[in-house]
Amino acid sequence: MNVLELHYDVPGDDFTRAGEASSAIKNKLKQMGISPNVIRNVAIATYEGEINMVIHANGGTIDVAIDSDAVTLLLKDTGDGIPDVELAMREGYTTAKEEIRALGFGAGMGLPNMKKYTDEFELTSEVGKGTEVKMKVYLNK
């Protein structure tokens, strides 16, 4: 199986559109006949990532690579970055404002969910420059 690569831009100014990239990725994986569990794990990881980009970083990009072993996800933004990654990974910790919480997000579960649903999770962030999250979901478990 060759590597299939997909690229999506996540606009940062429109919360109502957050999730469109994840939806497109989900449909693409479905067409490829990938197993429903893998698809759901990828969908949750990209969707939480997309929401984070819109809430915290004024948008970003998602790159997806699918080969015979795994779906590899690379999420990048040029937002403010995360000063304390360990703290940000803690369940329930959030810096989201009240208006975001009123929309049903900002419960401090985004990054923990992304880690929980993927097989590999690596977050690098530089304050003032942005954040990169690389994740892998294995196809055969």
Binding site: L103, A107, G108
Partner: protein, 133 residues
């Protein structure tokens, strides 16, 4: 106890719902339920053929349902989302119901009729009526 399998149509009857879209899905089976206004909590919950009960009305409710393969959303307290949200749900083939019941009452009625929550690991709790297993 044998877990009862109900359909979206059963939920319409039990909660006296108005069906806002995907009336053709009333025969679809619902195996589990989740009641929450925090979408991140819903995303921490994985179970097939689920129904989501919520008081939140924005399009991200439908997006969240789509990601989790949730087949039906019940809006509680008589709330109805705007047409754009209903249209998005119709595109995704997710049934949209609206009930006059409050969250607690709606979850209680479904639970009483045999519907159970799914696996809900590591949710942050709060005052959401998370369907525990």
């Amino acid at each position: 106890m044998v877990m009862k399998i109900m359909t979206i149509g059963d939920i319409v009857k039990l909660l006296e719902c108005e069906v806002l879209c995907c009336a053709d899905r009333l025969d679809s089976e619902v195996h589990t339920a989740c009641g929450s206004d925090m979408m991140s909590d819903v995303l921490a919950f994985v179970k097939d053929q689920a129904v989501l009960l919520t008081g939140l009305l924005n399009p991200q409710v439908v997006r969240t349902a789509e990601m989790m393969d949730i087949i039906c959303i019940v809006f509680v307290r008589g709330k109805k989302p705007d047409t754009a949200v209903v249209e998005l749900a119709a595109q995704k083939n997710i049934a949209i119901l609206s009930t006059g019941n409050r969250m607690f009452e709606a979850c209680g009625r479904l639970y009483e009729s045999g519907l159970r929550g799914g696996l809900s690991a590591n949710t942050s709790g709060g005052d959401n009526a998370e369907g525990g297993s």
